[in-house]
C-alpha cells in the first residue's frame, strides 16, 4: 500500500523488512524489498460514542492533566494515565457516583521495547457493576525507571496481580505491601515475559548443532 496520495499521514517507523524476519542469511524468497511499518499510535477525539462520553465527562474535569490520551478501539475505551496520578485516578474511578468501578479485574503487563520512554505498560481492566460498564486504564513507565505507584490501597485484589506483573515484567509497584516474585522461584534472575528476555535453544546431537531459540527462528511476523 502506498501512502503518497494521502497528504499529512505520518510515516510510521519500520517494523521489519523482508518476508521472514531473518537477517543472518540471504532472503531467497524475493520479498526482501517488503517493508512493514509499525501500527500508528492511536488517539481518539470526541464524541467517543456509547457510554464512553459519560465516563470521560465524569473523569476529565478533575483529572484533565492526568490523562495523556484516550483511545476508543474495537468497542473498548482506554484511558492512558500519567503514572504519578494513577492512585488518585483509580480512587476517583472507584468512588465517584457517576463512575463506580467497584470491580477491578487485575493488572496485565505488556512490554513494547520499541516505544522509547514508554516501554513498560500496566493495563488495568475495570468493571462497574452499578452501571454495567467496562473501561481500561493504561499506565506506562520507561525501561530505565520501571516504577509505577501501587494501587493495592484502592483495589486490594491488585496485591497478587501487581506481584505477577513485577515478576514477569520487572515493573516495580511503589507502595505495594510486599512486592516479591509470585510465579517464578524467589532467586530467579530476569523477568521472563519481557521481549528482551533471552530464550534458550535446544542442542541436538548432530555435529554440535543447536535448534535456535524460538525468537531467532525464521518467522512470518
Amino acid at each position: 500500500m502506498t501512502t503518497e496520495n494521502l497528504p499529512g499521514l505520518p510515516e510510521e517507523p519500520v517494523a521489519r523488512k523482508g518476508m521472514f524476519g531473518a537477517k543472518d542469511s540471504g532472503d531467497t524468497s524475493g520479498y526482501n524489498r517488503l517493508v512493514v511499518r509499525r501500527p500508528p499510535k492511536l488517539s481518539s477525539s470526541r464524541p467517543y460514542g456509547s457510554y464512553f462520553d459519560e465516563v470521560a465527562d465524569a473523569l476529565e474535569p478533575a483529572f484533565a492533566d492526568a490523562i495523556e490520551r484516550v483511545v476508543v478501539d474495537r468497542g473498548e475505551i482506554t484511558f492512558h494515565v500519567r503514572r504519578e496520578r494513577l492512585p488518585e485516578v483509580m480512587r476517583h474511578l472507584r468512588d465517584d457516583a457517576a463512575l463506580r468501578f467497584e470491580l477491578s479485574l487485575g493488572v496485565s503487563g505488556v512490554h513494547y521495547p520499541e516505544e522509547t520512554g514508554a516501554e513498560l505498560r500496566a493495563v488495568y481492566h475495570l468493571c462497574s457493576i452499578t452501571h454495567n460498564r467496562r473501561i481500561r486504564v493504561e499506565v506506562s513507565a520507561p525501561d530505565a525507571d520501571p516504577h509505577i505507584p501501587s494501587t493495592v490501597q484502592v483495589y486490594p485484589t491488585h496485591d497478587w496481580h501487581e506481584r505477577e506483573t513485577y515478576d514477569f515484567f520487572g515493573i516495580v509497584f511503589d507502595g505495594h505491601p510486599a512486592l516479591t516474585r509470585i510465579e517464578m522461584p524467589d532467586d530467579w534472575e530476569g523477568h521472563p515475559q519481557r521481549k528482551d528476555y533471552p530464550l534458550g535453544g535446544i542442542p541436538v546431537e548432530y555435529r554440535g548443532a543447536e535448534v535456535p531459540a524460538p525468537d531467532r527462528r525464521r518467522s512470518y511476523s
Partner: protein, 438 residues
C-alpha cells in the same frame, strides 16, 4: 527430628516418626506453631502451598504460596500462530478447558472485528459445550470437596457423573480434556452424527443424579456442620478482593456475565442466576448445585436449536482468510480428515493447496491493537487480554484467571477459624492450579 534455627525450632516428619514428633512438640513451651501444608497435599487441590500459623487449633495467619505449576503458557503463545494459541490456553484451567478457549477466541475475534459474523450454529455449540463443561467442573468441585472432608460417596457420585460429561466431550471433540475445540471464527468440527441423541440421554439421566446428590448432602448434619458459617466472605470482601463466580453469588449479588454482559447469544436463553446470602461454604455449595440445574436447562434449549432451526448450518466463519479450509469429519479410524478437501487440494487446485499451506503454517494476520474478552467460567470471570502487533502471532496474551484472584481470599476466609475449616475454605474457592499458575 527437630533442629533449632534462628526463627525457632523446626520439626521435620520426613521419617514418619510421629510419636517422636508429638513428644518433642508437647515438651515445647511455645504455643505458636507454623505448619506448612502442601504443595503436595491431598486436600490443597493440586500444588497449592499454605503456610499456617496456629495458636492451638486456631489459625492466626494463613499465607498462600503459588507458582509450583507455572509453565509459561502466556510466553509460549507469543511464538505460535493465533490458531495454535487455542491448544495452549485450553491447558490453563484444565477442569474448564472450553471456557479458556472461548474467552481467547472471543478476544481474537474482537481484534479481527468478526464478532458479529460467527455463525449461529457455532455459537450454540459453544454454549452447549460450555454448559456441559460447567456441569463437569462443578461436579469435580463438589466431589473433591466431599473427599477432603472425609466423605467418599460425594466423590464417587461426582466423578461417576463427570465421566458421562467427559464421554460426551470425547464424542463431540475427540478428546476428553484439553480439546482445542473452539477456534477463532467458530469451532473446529461440527457435532458428529448421534451427538444430539447422546446429549438427550444425558439430559434424561442427569436431573435425577443431581437430585440424588442433593438428597445426600443438602440436609446432611455432618456436611452442614462442616460447611455452614464457615469461611465467611461478604459482598464488600468479595468486591475488594475481586472475587467473582459462585463465591460472589453466595454473598447475594446476582452478578453473572451470561446475564449482565451476554456473549455467544446467552441473552436468547432462558435461565436463572441462583444466589444465596449466607456468604459461607454451604451457600457456595448450594449455588453450584443450582447452577448445574440451570446449565441443564440451557443445554436443552441449545440442543433444540441445534437439531431444529440451526441444523446443517456452518460452524466456522465463511471467510477463507480466517477459517481453516478443511471441513473435518471424524473417520472410522478416529482421525479427523476430509477426503473431499484432500482430493481438491491434491488433485485439482494448486491455488487451494497454496492457500491451505499458507493459512495453516503462516496463519492469519490480526490487526494491531488490544482487546479484552471475558466469559463466566465455573469459577468466576475469566478474562483474556489479547494484544496484537499486526503479525501472525499474539504479541501478548494475559489471562485473568478467576482461580488466581479468588485464591487471594484464603487469608480473609481462614484467619481466626479452626485449622480443619481451612480445608473447607480452600475447597469452596475451588481453585484449579493450572489456571492459577498458567
Amino acid at each position: 527430628m527437630s533442629t533449632t534455627e534462628t526463627e525457632g525450632r523446626i520439626y521435620d516428619v520426613a521419617g514418619q516418626d510421629w510419636d517422636e514428633l508429638v513428644k518433642t512438640v508437647s515438651e515445647s513451651a511455645d504455643e505458636r506453631l507454623v505448619v506448612n501444608m502442601g504443595p503436595q497435599h491431598p486436600s490443597t487441590h493440586g500444588v497449592l502451598r499454605l503456610v499456617l500459623t496456629l495458636d492451638g487449633e486456631t489459625v492466626t495467619e494463613a499465607r498462600t504460596v503459588i507458582g509450583y505449576l507455572h509453565t509459561g503458557i502466556e510466553k509460549n503463545m507469543e511464538f505460535r500462530t493465533w490458531t495454535q494459541g487455542v491448544t495452549f490456553v485450553t491447558r490453563m484451567d484444565y477442569l474448564a478447558p472450553i471456557f479458556n478457549e472461548t474467552a481467547y477466541c472471543m478476544g481474537v475475534e474482537k481484534l479481527l472485528g468478526i464478532t458479529d459474523r460467527i455463525p449461529d450454529r457455532a455459537q450454540a455449540i459453544r454454549v452447549l459445550t460450555m454448559e456441559l463443561t460447567r456441569i463437569s467442573s462443578h461436579l469435580v468441585a463438589i466431589a473433591t470437596f466431599g473427599l477432603e472432608l472425609g466423605a467418599t460417596t460425594p466423590m464417587l457420585f461426582g466423578f461417576r457423573e463427570r465421566e458421562m460429561v467427559l464421554d460426551l466431550m470425547e464424542y463431540i471433540t475427540g478428546l476428553r480434556m484439553n480439546m482445542a475445540y473452539v477456534r477463532p471464527g467458530g469451532v473446529s468440527v461440527d457435532l458428529p452424527a448421534g451427538a444430539v441423541d447422546k446429549i438427550g440421554e444425558f439430559l434424561k439421566v442427569m436431573p435425577g443424579r443431581i437430585k440424588e446428590m442433593r438428597k445426600l448432602l443438602d440436609a446432611n448434619p455432618v456436611y452442614t456442620r462442616r460447611t455452614k458459617d464457615v469461611a465467611y466472605l461478604d459482598l464488600t470482601g468479595c468486591m475488594a478482593l475481586g472475587v467473582t463466580g459462585p463465591m460472589l453469588r453466595a454473598a447475594g449479588l446476582p452478578w453473572d456475565l451470561r446475564k449482565s454482559q451476554p456473549y455467544c447469544g446467552y441473552e436468547t436463553y432462558e435461565f436463572e442466576v441462583p444466589t444465596q446470602n449466607t456468604c459461607d461454604v454451604y451457600g457456595r455449595y448450594l449455588v453450584r448445585m443450582a447452577e448445574m440445574e440451570e446449565s441443564l436447562k440451557i443445554i436443552e434449549q441449545a440442543l433444540d436449536r441445534l437439531s431444529g432451526p440451526l441444523k446443517g448450518g456452518p460452524v466456522m466463519i465463511e471467510d477463507k482468510k480466517i477459517g481453516w479450509p478443511s471441513q473435518l469429519a471424524l473417520g472410522p479410524d478416529g482421525l479427523g480428515n476430509s477426503p473431499d478437501h484432500i482430493a481438491h487440494i491434491m488433485g485439482s487446485s494448486m491455488e487451494a493447496l497454496i492457500h491451505h499451506f499458507k493459512l495453516v503454517t503462516e496463519g492469519f494476520r490480526v490487526p494491531a491493537g488490544q482487546a479484552y474478552a471475558s466469559v463466566e467460567s465455573p469459577r468466576g470471570e475469566l478474562g483474556a487480554h489479547v494484544v496484537s502487533d499486526g503479525g501472525t502471532r499474539p504479541y501478548r496474551v494475559h489471562f485473568r484467571d478467576p482461580s488466581f484472584t479468588n485464591l487471594q481470599a484464603v487469608p480473609a476466609t481462614c484467619e481466626g477459624g479452626m485449622v480443619a475449616d481451612v480445608i473447607s475454605a480452600v475447597a469452596s474457592i475451588d481453585p484449579v492450579m493450572g489456571g492459577v499458575d498458567r
